[in-house]
Amino acid sequence: DAGVTQSPTHLIKTRGQQVTLRCSPKSGHDTVSWYQQALGQGPQFIFQYYEEEERQRGNFPDRFSGHQFPNYSSELNVNALLLGDSALYLCASSLGQGDGELFFGEGSRLTVL
């Protein structure tokens, strides 16, 4: 039973560039949430996708956008990268929008130079 998988694991970009991160949820899960975790901080909620729509959004600018596909996998896109976007981006899957636990992937570590 595959857990949550994310790609790429590491990447380096320069300011102003765009990045796309990918996530495949745990088998049987239909909800994907994205979190940004800066060094030494807790995960910050970016947004959640369910039934291919953005359902909830945290305090992140429009430069952060996403998508969910019919197979429940998801992408996170960040445009016009800033140095402050350097972080570990975590994808978490869950079943429905209910109160269940989050299953996290290993994350994608983005460095913006």
Binding site: Q41, G42, Q44, F45, Q56, D99, E101, L102, F103, F104
Partner: protein
């Protein structure tokens, strides 16, 4: 800004000593979850508390949810080197799960 506060930020304990981390929310939570993140790893779910005043135990770990559903604690008895990591509380408000900044536990041999 951060709406779920967690203290302390860091804790160093001798192996065998107890450890406690506290989580406080400014508003009532529908539930609270606890996660552990090992160095270089990703958060892993430990437990969820839903009821006011709920107490749950997992071996040496004891979790409590406050009567007002605004605070929670995690207590580890007789810490071991395998307990090293950062412990996060995550409070659910509506459909959002808000994480605290975590408490980093370091075990001194």
């Amino acid at each position: 800004g951060q709406q779920v506060m967690q203290i302390p930020q860091y804790q160093h304990v001798q192996e065998g000593e107890d450890f406690t981390t506290y989580c406080n929310s400014s508003t009532t939570l529908s539930n609270i979850q606890w996660y552990k993140q090992r160095p270089g790893g990703h958060p892993v779910f430990l437990i969820q508390l839903v009821k006011s005043g709920e107490v749950k135990k997992q071996k040496r770990l004891t979790f409590q949810f406050g009567e007002a559903k605004k605070n929670s604690s995690l207590h580890i008895t007789a810490t071991q080197t395998t307990d090293v990591g950062t412990y996060f509380c995550a409070g659910r408000r509506g459909d959002k799960i808000i994480f605290g900044k975590g408490t980093r536990l370091h075990i001194l041999p």
